[in-house]
Structure formats: structure tokens, C-alpha cells
Amino acid sequence: MSELTTMTAAELSVKLQSGEVSATEVTRAHLDRIAAVDGRVHAFLHVAADGALAAARQVDERRAAGAELGPLAGVPVALKDNFTTTDMPTTAGSRILNRWQPPYDATITSRLRRAGAIILGKTNMDEFAMGSSTENSAFGPTRNPWDLSRVPGGSSGGSAASVAAYEAPLAIGTDTGGSIRQPAAVCGITGMKPTYGGNSRYGLIAFASSLDTPGPLARTVLDAALLQETISGHDPMDATSIDEAVPPVAAAARQADVAGLRIGVVAELAGEGYQPGVLSRFSQAVELLEALGAKVTEVSCPHFRYALPAYYLIAPSECSSNLARFDAMRYGLRVGDDGTRSAEEVMSLTRAEGFGAEVKRRIMLGTYALSSGYYDAYYGKAQQVRTLIARDFEAAFGQVDVLVSPTTPTTAFPIGERADDPIAMYLADLCTIPSNLAGNAAISVPCGLAPEDGLPVGFQVMAPVLADDRAYRVAAAAEAAFTERWGHPLLAGARGLDQATADDTRGAGR
């Protein structure tokens, strides 16, 4: 493995700016790594080798001509396959969009291009971002680089695995109920769900519009912040985009200090159903922050226990409406159009063949929750619970600066274990969902390996709406303290892909 692929984006940025390495060399190293390992990981649905090398050449030429370039110019990034790209297919992990090549770029896509970031390709995902394991992709599952028999989490599992497997230093994901933070946690990397509205949804294939939030995945907190600064900011093409200055997240990640900060441990996000090794690593992380000068208290958010059922009414309701656009008429798959069938019959046949089981379950669940006679008891009630959860956050942030919890109740589970057990699958997002319902910022950073299975555990930091910088500051402080304790970044101990690196780092995460 080339050392260019093990460097952080921040390190690459320095070497690119000084001219020590070229964007072409960096891009080629990552494409070589993808060619070497992606057959086993399957993080990518599409690798854009030619496009990436052309973009890299352009960055090199502009730099040689003395152009002023941003920090990520020449740094490779992997893009989740639910962002539209004019030069690459966009499937959202679904057969219904198989081979679709969008006529326009998402705002996130065009901002990456404008910054000179090199888009390596499109990453695998649960179909329409519905799932927590990437097993719901119509194109086969992604595997966890720590243990290829386990899931990488989801729905941004391809993005998380690409970063953990050193195929890309950075990746873009989307988080509707935990789809950035949960895969980041179980792959041993950093993932951030910014404040809702902080990143544009224009050109993002919609799942649940009031919850969907694009965000960064990276191997360090600073790298995530650099990527967020590149993609964030007001976009007139998205009516829910926040028209305010982006919080200074990279500066916050560099500040990395928690002295005097009040940290609240959420009482409801622990206990039954949580793996012992997850809880022990979480407690150690809290002690570490306390040792760094943070003031730790326990905080109760009583309605968080209703977040999961409320989410599984709100998200499916919005999805049943959003996915009505896949009607086989103007783009995408069309099945059974033999000249005898009506448009409605063709539509129903196409949707039955084009959507996978989980998407069908959620469309029908949403249709049920929104139907007259059930609306008040289900969707209406879930919306009230959403208010109560936002109020729990408000009350908690009156007492403390940030809230913390494990990111997921368990480490990565084996492929197939929960594939046809929706309720078990949904539990993977237990700790991440509250921040989607309330719209506040939340980040996951690795906090060690669970002793019982040697797999990564994520530490979640939740900050108030628009206080993304605070989440980065705490996560970076935790990251610095962990790295010092372990003697190296957690990921250096991953042994699923590169056996050779395992032996000299066996102490990882202890």
C-alpha cells in the first residue's frame, strides 16, 4: 500500500500545496488501492478512473500556473451514490435507477468539483438510504474492512468502508437516522451529521426530506471538518438550506480542548440491549474527557425512548411520498410495457420489480401511517413526539454544552444476521435518531475496540443546532487523547484487509 493512501487529507493538502506530490500521483495511488482491495470490500458501485485522473491533471495544471487553490484541491473523495453526477451513473443502490445518468450535478457534487477535490467514484449504499448494513443495496453488500464477514453499517456503508480501507481519505455520506455516524462507528472512523440545513440537499435523491442531511466521513476529525467547510453553506436551490455563515469547524477541530466544558451523559442511551464492550469503552471515553478538565454530569432525556418508533413513522411517511416519483414514465426502469397494459399497470409492475424488500416495507408502512383513519394515531402522534424530543434537547442544552452517548448499541454484526429481521435492524440507529428528529449537530469518533470481539466502538457527541463547531471541538479532544493512549490511530489496528499491519499494532484500542 502506497503511503499516499495512509495519509490524512490534511497531510495530503500540505504536500500538494508545497508541490512535493502531484494530484495525479495521489489519485493514481488511490485508484491502485481500489483496484487491489475493492473486489473484497465492494465499497464502490462505480469507479471513475479516467474522470478522476483528468480532474487531477487539471488541478496540477492550475497549480503549476499559479492559481489560488483551496485546501482540498487534488485530494480524493468518494461520493455516496445518492448524489447526482452528470459524468457517472447514479443509482441510490436501486434497480429502479440502474444505469441512470442524471442530467445535472447535485450542489454537493459541484462544490467538490469547484474545490478541486477528486471524485474517485460512487459508493455503495442501502437502497434509497434505507437500512443500517448496506445489505439492502440492489448491487450486493459492502464488507467491513475490519472483518470481511461483517457489515460496514449503513446506509453510507460504502463511503465508510472506502475510508476505512484506505481507498479514499474522505467520503461524503447522508444521515437520515444515523446513516453517517453508525457506519463510521462500526468501521472505526469519524462521521459527522451537521445541523439539518447546513448542507444542501439539491440533487440528493430524497428519502425523508425533513431528516436527510449530507455530511463528511474521514479518518480524522480535522479531515471531516475540512470536508464540511468545502461543501457547507447556503444554497438558494434548497429551500431548507440555512442562510447563515458556516460555523468555523476546522478551527474548532484544531482547538480540540474540553477544559471547563460541561458534558452530559444521556441516561436513556445505555443499559439493556447495549453490548458490554460498547458500554465499557464509552465509560472510559467519558473518564478521559473528565481527566482533560470537562465537567461530566448525567442528563435525562425521557422522550428519547420514543425516538425510534416516531422515526419509523415519520421517515416511512415521507419516503412513501418521495418515492412516488419513481413511476416508470420519464426516467429509470420500465417493466411490462407491451402495448396492452395501462400506465398504472406498468407503474405497479415496475415498482414491484425495481424496489427491494425494505423499500417496499417502508413505502407501505408510510402509506398506512398517512391513510385517513390512522393519521392521528400514527403520523400525528409521531410528530408530537418529535416536538417532545426537541424539547428534551433544549432542556438538556440548558444544563450542559454537549451530550454524549455510544453511537451504536453494538459493534458491527455479521452479514445476514439481521437482513430479514427489520425490527432488529432498526435498533442499530437507537442512539443516532434523536438528533435527526431535532435537527441538531452530532458526530461519531472512534473510542476503542470492544474487548469481546475486537471491533470498533463509536463515541457520539451531540451539540445544539448550529453549534457544529462545538461537536468538532469535543470530538477532536477525545481523538487526541485516545490516539495518545493507543500510540497510533485506531484504524492502524484494522486487520481484515492487510494482515501484515495487524501484528505490530495488537495493543490497539486497549
Binding site: W100, Q101, P102, P103, Y104, Y196, G197, S210, L211, A239, T240, Y306, P309, A310, Y312, L313, S320, D327, A328, M329, R330, Y331, G332, L333, D337, G339, R341, S342, A343, E344, E345, S348, R351, A352, F355, A357, K360, R361, I363, M364, L365, T367, A369, S371, A377, G380, K381, A382, Q383, Q384, V385, R386, T387, L388, A390, P422, I423, L437, A438, G439
Partner: protein, 98 residues
């Protein structure tokens, strides 16, 4: 039992999903289990609590009314399952006996 197989079949029709018998047999008990689980929201005493439909309290968002070119017809039609005379070609929209 919170939902019957017949109701699930009705939901599939409303959702424009032409599901086979086998698929209905598989999905009906799963939907029943999910609906029972999410019904827990009804335990919450929410009398007088306003609903939240969105994380941000935004109303009447406007942007500048700038004229920009729309996508060329050939680009848009290039992704269509069927095209005729620069139009989307779709199956008949009325039933035979309508």
C-alpha cells in the same frame, strides 16, 4: 394482530406495487410486527403538544427570480424509457372500457 393480510394487499395497491402472493405472505407478518412496535408512540401523553414537521422553523423561503436556461430537451429525453417526437412516450392512461 394490528393489520391483516387483506389490508396489506390493499396498501400494496395504494402504493402501486404489484406484489405476488408469496411476497404478500412474507411482508404481511413483518408489517404487522413493525406497526405493533411503532404504535408505542401512542403511550406518550401529548395532549396539547404541537406537531413538528420540520427541524427548522422556516416559512416563506424565497430566492431571487433569476432567469437561467433549462436543461436541453435531448439531454432530458436521453434518460427516458421511450421517446417519440421529442416527447416522453408513455403507456395508455385510460382503461379499455373507460
Amino acid at each position: 394482530m394490528s393489520i391483516t393480510r387483506d389490508e396489506v394487499a390493499h396498501l400494496a395497491r395504494l402504493s402501486r406495487l404489484a406484489l405476488g402472493e408469496e411476497e404478500l405472505d412474507h411482508l404481511a407478518p413483518q408489517l404487522d410486527q413493525i406497526i405493533s412496535a411503532v404504535a408505542r408512540v401512542q403511550e406518550v401523553a401529548a395532549e396539547g403538544i404541537p406537531p413538528t414537521s420540520h427541524a427548522l422553523p422556516l416559512t416563506n423561503v424565497f430566492r431571487a427570480d433569476e432567469i437561467v436556461p433549462c436543461l436541453p430537451a435531448d439531454v432530458v429525453l436521453s434518460q427516458s424509457p421511450a421517446v417519440e417526437q421529442q416527447r416522453f412516450k408513455v403507456p395508455r392512461i385510460l382503461a379499455e372500457d373507460a
